[in-house]
Symmetry: C2
Amino acid sequence: MTYRAPVSDYQFIFDHIVDFSAVLNSESFSDVDQDTVLAILEEAGKLASDVIAPLDRGGDLNPAQLVDGVVKTSPGFADALGQVAEGGWIGMLASPDNGGMGLPLTVGTAVNDMMSGACLALSLYPLMCQGQIEALEHHASDDLKAVYLPKLVSGEWCGTMNLTEPGAGSDVGALRTKAERNGDGSYSITGQKIFITWGDNDFSENVCHLVLARLPDGAPGTKGISLFMVPKVIPNEDGSLGEKNSLHVVSLEHKLGIHGSPTCVMEYDGAKGWLVGEEHQGMKCMFTMMNNARLGVGVQGVGIAEAATQKALAYAQDRVQGKSPLGNEGAGIIDHADVRRMLATMRADTFVARSIALACGVALDLGRTVPEQQARGAFLIPIAKAFSTDIGHEVAQTGVQVHGGMGYIEETGAAQYARDARITSIYEGTNGIQAMDLVGRKLMDGGEAAFALLDEIETFAEAARAILPKRAIAVWNSAETLREGLETVLTLPMNDRFGVAVPFLRAFARVLGGYFHLKAAIAEGGDGPRSRLAAFYIKRMLPEHRALLAQVRLGAQDIYALSPEDLTV
Amino acid sequence: MTYRAPVSDYQFIFDHIVDFSAVLNSESFSDVDQDTVLAILEEAGKLASDVIAPLDRGGDLNPAQLVDGVVKTSPGFADALGQVAEGGWIGMLASPDNGGMGLPLTVGTAVNDMMSGACLALSLYPLMCQGQIEALEHHASDDLKAVYLPKLVSGEWCGTMNLTEPGAGSDVGALRTKAERNGDGSYSITGQKIFITWGDNDFSENVCHLVLARLPDGAPGTKGISLFMVPKVIPNEDGSLGEKNSLHVVSLEHKLGIHGSPTCVMEYDGAKGWLVGEEHQGMKCMFTMMNNARLGVGVQGVGIAEAATQKALAYAQDRVQGKSPLGNEGAGIIDHADVRRMLATMRADTFVARSIALACGVALDLGRTVPEQQARGAFLIPIAKAFSTDIGHEVAQTGVQVHGGMGYIEETGAAQYARDARITSIYEGTNGIQAMDLVGRKLMDGGEAAFALLDEIETFAEAARAILPKRAIAVWNSAETLREGLETVLTLPMNDRFGVAVPFLRAFARVLGGYFHLKAAIAEGGDGPRSRLAAFYIKRMLPEHRALLAQVRLGAQDIYALSPEDLTV
């Protein structure tokens, strides 16, 4: 059983859940039409299913390796990534002015979902490039753009992000990498960076590192950080490749998963770099692309959830154990109530996570011109990142459970999904930090974006009462409970908010899930497979929000009451 | 940071949570006194912390391997298991008549907790032996006992359990391994068994396999299965070792975790075996030891949870990132509210899981003479197995999250706990099957054992109102909600019960957790570290039971409404 790209699910969600037509009707995407989008999704789906997915297990078994200072990549990755580049997928979000497709982020999100589901380790390569292209488009000088963008968009060169250092993880501002002015407009970069995804490979002509570093007169903390382009090979003025830069891969990490993705320790030893954006404004440049990057990581959770669900569903239909309680001769374990419950949970949450990610994409696309949508997109990002990645891992672990003993055997592949997915809750800002962003920065508007979402849910639920009264009332009630929770959170001092941030974020996602499932059910008139799944979700999974919101009024007091010694036995 | 055996936690739980004194006062253990028990726990703790724990990472890095047909074990395992045997830990539960220590199961459970926390892969070796000893003590003929028990108890020989076959996992009755009568009292066993834990090693003098097989006149299904002792080397009449038996290890599995534990595919090719118990009564023999085995696996979850909590706690105190919100100069990330929340969750659930396991042990110990206690023990077993192993994995995954990016790097060891723990929710009956056992077989008494537990909780909570009114009322209410849930479950047809079995089991554990935390708080007069942890649990974690119990009245109808096609996109 191989991964099959869920193109029809995107179509349904575009049409009935997230109002993708508004994106197509917006000025920003006047060149894109529905037929093109469908053709693009089908093309990406074929690439994901037929070319990329077959490499997933091999990448796990044959991790990227450091051989004589160069990263040797997993079998087949070079060729498949060549096809990704040729298909234009690396530059799919880039402006047509730079050779890109200029697609809406919503479509790009669906494509990233498929790539991640097919092979997460491989999909990180185009994702890193997308992020770099975005950063350069927004902040680089015209000279830099002219040299780098065409090569990055075409996929001849690739891009990386260098933020983390051994002593500076979540606290980026603690970084110690130094930049010095060379006097010729270029800079010398010196320092060590860790956890650099796809920090090197054996097939790209060049690897372009975006590196955060501090100039001698840079203030301490995040305010004194600047962003630099530091290429592996220094381009000549005519764009051809010149001499090798003073940087190298020190080692690769041994990770729980995504073995096919080389995670590098990078050493910069007076490496030549060029400023991106202004001096000391590096964090601002990073923030520009963090939105899309976080959505990109969130949808990795969706991709893995989809792949794990497909695999478990196929196994549960094939694997016969005991008599079917439904009396079906030769039926698989899917006929056992608890197994089917697990599968329904997986499918229901995959739909929620996907809908949140795509709703976030739509808001960010519309947000180019509509401020309220921009605010909505910003509010949804930490939810899309944290909830979807948590769900990716949970669904993959449930998939292992459906497989029983076979799930624990690596050859089956179910465990790999769980191992691969596990990083997504950690990188690009841990999910705890996402939740802090949600209750902190994203509520600085006094909750306006959040309340607007709740208003929308309640309005829809009220209208839905005529068709599905019980489900609609349950969803309306959940939104109202969430509204009370939100009002409580807004009264809390910041550090008390942080004590309830994670449960609050998850509760918000649960309620959004109720809304999206209700919408799906109404779209088919209240009767059909999506309505049955909606009933399952609203009755079994939505109630979790209440237990989560019960914590909101607690703040952080009961947490801090527990000293480190209290937690020791 | 290395694992430190939590001996003081057992002492506290013995004294204040599970009434271990009743075990010491019971006729069955008149030879055992409190001082002995404490000395035993401290001795086992030293072995676990100083000898076994240091081998955990090496076992993961250097898995057991099959070399020329013999299993080569991980470095240091042979020596450490020699010390386990010398300390008498393999025979700790065996009758003194057979050379054992005759300890209560409660004490053995604490010891297994420590061994599992120190190195799960290694601890499976003594656990398998304990199970075999128990099976032989109950069912073997005197002749078999005389040959095997002294060697197993001393640890010179080891034991395995052979149930699973490629087509017979949860459905043991589907097995195809054949037994034929040789006419001399012995039998010939032919077939293949999979997932055989510690199926071979390079240091025991003999490996004794207990094998389930079907005689030619055995009925289909579980009723026609018999149990056989099939040794790797056939003992002579004088007890010395004779010729090699016709069995061999075909291969070892590549697993997600417990790499130091050789999981074998075994081939029996007309191997000589001896009947244990009566013909066609093999399942009855297996059931005898399944109780203890399931508790043994449950407590593996506790052990891993303890080890993961200790590791994360140490890391969070050492790792500095950003300023402490509490203003503590140079404080670790433990000062961040969300990190401390995670650590408190880990500690609170480790305590619950441990208390449930030890309460189960006490009930089974008392159950030797008191039928009500036996029923309570039987009721608690699936909870102790499923909840504790789920918690083991959840806590280990939270530990990974506390470590951030470092948690994803294998060298850190946090991920290993998660990988190792993952099997415990699957083997010895998946946790779904445990839940089916709980709502099925274990409620055949009309809920008597369950209601007795709820009565006990409510009585305690009522008395506790004088000291901790809010916490006591919350616990009382949770027991009452659970009572209603239980009453509902009892009205459901069996297959509807199976649709809500997993949430019901977890809800029961959550409420038991409230009870045990309340007891801990009352034991210190309502003020102190355990009271603060109880407040955290009761306010933040106990509410989960309501969302879980909301599902109970649904039965399985909404699950079966979803066809396999409905779950496909």
